[in-house]
Structures are given as structure tokens and as C-alpha cells.
């Protein structure tokens, strides 16, 4: 057990944590905010390079089986770091515009990223808990960033109370699983031969905790309020990076921890949750006038689509979920980014969809970008959102869950209405009054353009550097044995 070798397998999180400490010290000494921003971006780029290296690297566990590396875990790390990097890139101009541009924000983002990576690579229930809480506690702080305003403090309070409440359930679940098996390690728990009621109760509570975190109906109540009250670029961070990390952890739990015995399949429960999540998320999104709230309900609906892939429970399903997470991260950060840009123009309340009238011709590039991201979120063909939905639904059909796929396709069709509604306002309505939009900064603009390129590029069965992405993801679940079982 070589210490440095272990550290090497966990290097992206280590870099993020170290950078977080550096940024914290810099903000104490009142270093220029642009330097802090630069340090943050640099450290995230370095972490991203390491994550890319791990993507094709060996698979195994380190730190006394606490941490998994390679395969699903490596892809989860990559997702988290990518999401964080783009959120940081679009955050600077926005936070400056709302006068909350502190160095501590970046420190908190980096610490939260450490937690997320820890969550996405967990191979032990202790690691899962610590990663989840490191992430959550930093996110509670970020949710309350605009604490002088009532909405900001309110969203932080709601996020905190419901988050802590769900942590209680998750932890009780972990305790019961530990009681039933005498271990917290995934590999030991899988080896279980008979299922006690204690284990069933524990897994159920664990899943409830997870459903809270991924905001699946009926545990979604906090999501719209928190997303609305949080600064928009940080909302993007909440909606993508944290959700990606939690879902990857959920995949690891489902594929590596749950014993493969008849009658322990949580497929039924997850299917039911997936169906009501898809239906309710999309239906409520239809009547929202606030764009941030609309995207919040849309993110609940997307959690439903992701659960479809998880309910399939096959290698195809897990692959589909990973691909979907990638697509979701890219297009959702993009959509939130453009909305953040409109919001920066303080003259009008640009979170109300009625005020989007006529925006299509003011800054044409931004309007086109938003259209692309919304089309992709709606799952319309030439974009990555379509391909992601296709993989997930195909996996569900192949696993025999026809109902899930049908509900998924129908609700997707309904969702087109509220995504296109924004575009109708932008292009086909006359503006209420004259106004000018500020210029988007260069970094802001190019970050969004890169996201747009990714959205389009991966929409057409792309040749990911060294083979297609979906083939790479599939290989995680076939070469190393059933359901991604990674031997050390």
C-alpha cells in the first residue's frame, strides 16, 4: 500500500482542495480578485487534465478500498471538474454585476468540488457520507451568498434544513446497512448471501436520502426555491456538478454495493419514482413564468429521465445515465449561463419570461446560444440531448421497462412546449420598452461558445478523441466484469 500511489489515484480532488486553501489565504490577504479567479481556473484545468488521464487509466481501489479509481469513478470526476470549470468561467462577470464577487466564493466552489469528487469515487459508505457532506455544507454557504436579500437567505435556509434532514435519513440507512452486514465497504456488502429486513430498511433509507439530493419527486420541494434564490451561475453549479456527482455515486452504489440476489432489486421503487418525477416535473414546468424556476422544474424532470436509465439496471442503462449526465452538464450550464447574462442587465427583471420579448435581435449570438441549449434540453435531434435521451430510453426498452420509455417519450414531447415558449418570446414578440444589453465579457462568451460546440459535436455520434464516447463508457461495464465490478 504505497501512500504516493494512493494519492496519485485521487489527484484531481487533492488539487482542488489545495487550490481551495491557497485561494482562501489569498482572499485574506486581499489579493486581486482576478488573480484569485486565475488561480482557480488554472487549478481546475490541471485537475481536468489529470481526470482525462485517469479516464483511460487502470481500474481499481485505493486508500484501503475507500476510493475507486478508473472507469465510472474517473468519468464522474471528469464530469464534476468540467462542470465546475465552466461554472467558474461564467461566474466572474455575473458575480461582479451583482456585487458579490468575493474570493471566498471560489474557495467554497473548490472545496465543494473536492467533496463532489470524493462522492463520485466513493467505494465505501464512510467515503460516501464524508464526500456528500463536504459538498453539501459548501453548497449551503453558496446558496446564501446574497444573504442581504430575503430571497437569498430564504433559499439558503430551505436548502440547509431539507439537506440536513435528508442527511439524517441517509445516515440512518448507512447505520442499518452497517448493522446488517458488519461492514461499510461496497465489496463486502455485495458478498452478502441472505437479505435481512434490517438491510432492506437500511437500503430504503439510503435511497430516500439519495432521492432528496437528486431532487426526485416527492422529495423535490426544495429545488425550485433554492434554484431561484441562488445567484444564477451558482445555480448552474448546483444543478449540474452536484447532481452529476450524486448520480455517479448512486450508480456505484447500485452496481457495486447492492447484492445480486432475487428480491433485492430496487428497480420497482426506482421505476415508480422515475415515472412520477418525469410527469410532475414536466407538468409544473409548463406553468412557470420565471425562467430560473422553469429550469429548476426541468432539472427535476431530467432527474426522472436519469432514473429511467438507473431503473433499467443493466450495463446499457448505466452507460446511458453517464452519457446523459455529460449531456445534461454541458447544456444546462449553457442555458443557465445565457440566463445569467440577461440577468446582468439590471434594467428589467430578466428572470421573467415575459421580459424576454424581443431579446432575440439584441445580442444575436447569445440568443442563438440559448436556443441551441434549450433545443438540446428538449431533446430535439441534432443536439446531444437527443442522443442522451435515446441511449437511456433504449436501455429501458431492452431491459423490458416499456412503460418507463413510453412515459419518458410522452413527457419529453410535453416538455418541448415550455422550452420553445422562451424562444417564441425571444423572436416573435415585440419588446415592452426600449433597452440596451451590456456586452458579454470575452471569457464568458467563449465559455458558452465552447459549451455550444460540445452540445452540437456530441449530438452526431461523434468520434471522441480515441473512439466514440459511448464505446468508452460501455467498456467500463463489459471489460472489467459484470456491472462494472472493478477488482483491485
Amino acid at each position: 500500500m504505497d501512500y504516493l500511489y494512493d494519492l496519485n489515484t485521487f489527484i484531481p480532488a487533492t488539487i482542488a482542495a489545495a487550490a481551495g486553501l491557497v485561494v482562501l489565504m489569498q482572499s485574506v490577504y486581499k489579493v486581486k480578485i482576478n488573480t484569485i479567479f486565475g488561480v482557480t481556473v488554472f487549478s481546475l484545468v490541471v485537475a481536468l487534465l489529470f481526470a482525462l488521464r485517469d479516464l483511460f487509466g487502470p481500474v481499481g481501489t485505493s486508500f484501503y478500498d475507500m476510493v475507486a479509481y478508473g472507469g465510472t469513478a474517473a468519468f464522474g470526476t471528469l464530469l464534476v471538474i468540467t462542470g465546475t470549470l465552466f461554472c467558474v468561467l461564467i461566474s466572474r462577470d455575473y458575480l461582479e454585476a451583482i456585487d458579490h464577487h468575493y474570493g471566498e466564493v471560489y474557495a467554497m466552489i473548490l472545496f465543494a468540488t473536492t467533496g463532489m469528487v470524493g462522492l463520485a469515487v466513493s467505494n465505501d459508505l464512510i467515503m460516501l457520507f464524508v464526500g456528500l457532506e463536504t459538498m453539501s455544507i459548501c453548497l449551503y454557504v453558496l446558496a446564501g451568498l446574497i444573504k442581504e436579500e430575503k430571497t437569498g437567505a430564504e433559499s439558503a435556509l430551505k436548502y440547509f434544513l431539507l439537506g440536513a434532514f435528508s442527511t439524517g435519513f441517509l445516515l440512518y440507512g448507512i447505520a442499518l446497512i452497517y448493522g446488517a452486514t458488519g461492514s461499510t465497504n461496497y465489496a463486502d456488502i455485495t458478498a452478502l448471501t441472505d437479505i435481512s429486513p434490517l438491510f432492506m430498511a437500511g437500503s430504503a433509507l439510503l435511497l430516500v436520502g439519495f432521492f432528496f439530493k437528486i431532487s426526485a419527486v416527492p422529495f423535490h420541494m426544495w429545488t425550485p426555491d433554492v434554484y431561484q434564490g441562488t445567484p444564477t451561475t451558482l445555480t448552474a453549479y448546483f444543478a449540474t456538478a452536484s447532481k452529476a456527482a450524486t448520480f455517479v455515486a448512486l450508480i456505484l452504489v447500485m452496481s457495486r454495493m447492492m447484492p445480486e440476489i432475487e428480491g433485492v432489486g430496487w428497480t420497482q421503487a426506482i421505476s415508480v419514482i422515475a415515472i412520477i418525477t418525469m410527469i410532475l416535473g414536466n407538468l409544473i414546468a409548463l406553468v412557470q413564468d420565471n425562467v430560473k424556476r422553469m429550469l429548476a422544474y426541468s432539472s427535476i424532470a431530467h432527474a426522472g429521465y436519469l432514473l429511467v436509465g438507473l431503473a433499467a439496471g443493466t450495463a446499457d442503462g448505466y452507460t446511458g445515465v453517464l452519457y446523459y449526465l455529460f449531456a445534461y452538464t454541458v447544456m444546462n450550464i449553457g442555458a443557465f449561463g445565457v440566463i445569467a447574462f440577461y440577468e446582468r442587465n439590471q434594467a428589467l427583471d430578466f428572470t421573467d419570461v415575459n421580459n424576454y420579448a424581443g431579446l432575440g435581435y439584441k445580442q444575436p449570438v447569445m440568443a442563438v446560444l440559448l436556443s441551441v441549449f434549450l433545443f438540446s434540453l428538449a431533446g430535439i435531434p441534432p443536439f446531444v440531448g437527443f442522443l442522451a435521451k435515446y441511449y437511456v430510453f433504449a436501455a429501458a426498452v431492452n431491459a423490458g421497462h416499456i412503460t418507463l420509455a413510453v412515459v419518458g417519450v410522452l413527457t419529453t414531447a410535453a416538455s418541448v412546449y415550455y422550452y420553445l415558449r422562451v424562444m417564441v418570446f425571444m423572436y416573435f414578440r415585440e419588446p415592452h420598452k426600449e433597452f440596451d444589453l451590456v456586452n458579454p465579457g470575452a471569457i464568458f462568451k467563449y465559455a458558452l461558445i465552447v459549451l455550444c460546440v460540445l452540445t452540437v459535436y456530441y449530438g452526431v455520434e461523434p468520434v471522441f478523441p480515441m473512439g466514440s464516447l459511448i464505446e468508452l463508457l460501455t467498456s467500463y461495464y463489459t471489460e472489467t466484469g459484470p456491472a462494472g465490478m472493478a477488482g483491485p
Binding site: 501512500y3 486553501l21 482562501l24 489565504m25 485574506v28
Partner: protein
């Protein structure tokens, strides 16, 4: 029963040492009492009075920091118990842990959360 004798000896030494130090400081140091110095909690809040008194928000901040740094120490105990068997790698890990804690403490000190003024209207001091 005999195994308790060292504890009694320890108690005795503690008592003698405490008395010795207190009397030494009284004999050797300057002794100029005033109202603030003779309070049970010097520069703290008044311990006598109604339970539902309002107190300065500064205490609240100090209490929050205390909770954190008090509980992080819990990680040191298991390590300290098995210190010799755990080897050098664990020592390095714990040093890193303490450095991280220190950075946190340093941050709060620099931000000035523990320097606060007691406003007379809030502290109810007469």
C-alpha cells in the same frame, strides 16, 4: 484498591500546585483590582441575572468557531493512541490535517470574527 493510589497522589499534587501558583502570583505580581477584573468571566458576560437576557452577537460567532475547532480534535485522539504503530505516513497525514485546521483558524483571526465590541445597551452591564 491499590491501583487508585496514583490517582489520589495526582489529585494531591494538582491541589498543591494550584494553591502554590495562585499564592505566588498574588505575592509576586501587582494586585490592582477593579470591577471588570473581579467579574467571574473577565470581559465576558454577566453570569448573574435573568436567563432571557439578550447578549452580544459576538459571543455567537465565538461559539460557532468553538464548536468547529473543539470537535475537529476528535480525529487526533485515535491517532494519538496508536501513534507509535501507525508510522511516518500517518504522521505526515496528521500534520497536513493540522495545517488545514490552522489555515481555517488563521482565516477567522484575520477576518476579525473574535474581535468585537460589547455595546453597553446590549451587554446590560451596570
Amino acid at each position: 484498591m491499590e491501583s487508585y493510589i496514583p490517582i489520589i497522589v495526582l489529585l494531591g499534587i494538582a491541589l498543591v500546585l494550584a494553591l502554590l501558583l495562585m499564592s505566588l502570583s498574588r505575592l509576586l505580581g501587582p494586585f490592582r483590582p477593579n470591577t471588570n477584573k473581579l467579574n467571574p468571566y473577565e470581559s465576558g458576560m454577566d453570569p448573574v441575572g435573568q436567563a432571557r437576557e439578550r447578549y452580544s452577537i459576538g459571543f455567537y460567532l465565538v461559539a460557532m468557531e468553538f464548536i468547529i475547532f473543539d470537535l475537529e480534535v476528535v480525529f487526533l485522539f485515535p491517532w494519538a493512541v496508536k501513534f507509535t504503530e501507525l508510522g511516518f505516513g500517518t504522521f505526515v497525514a496528521m500534520v497536513i490535517f493540522i495545517i488545514i485546521l490552522f489555515i481555517g483558524l488563521f482565516y477567522t483571526l484575520k477576518k476579525g470574527t473574535i474581535y468585537f465590541e460589547l455595546k453597553p445597551s446590549i451587554s446590560n452591564r451596570t
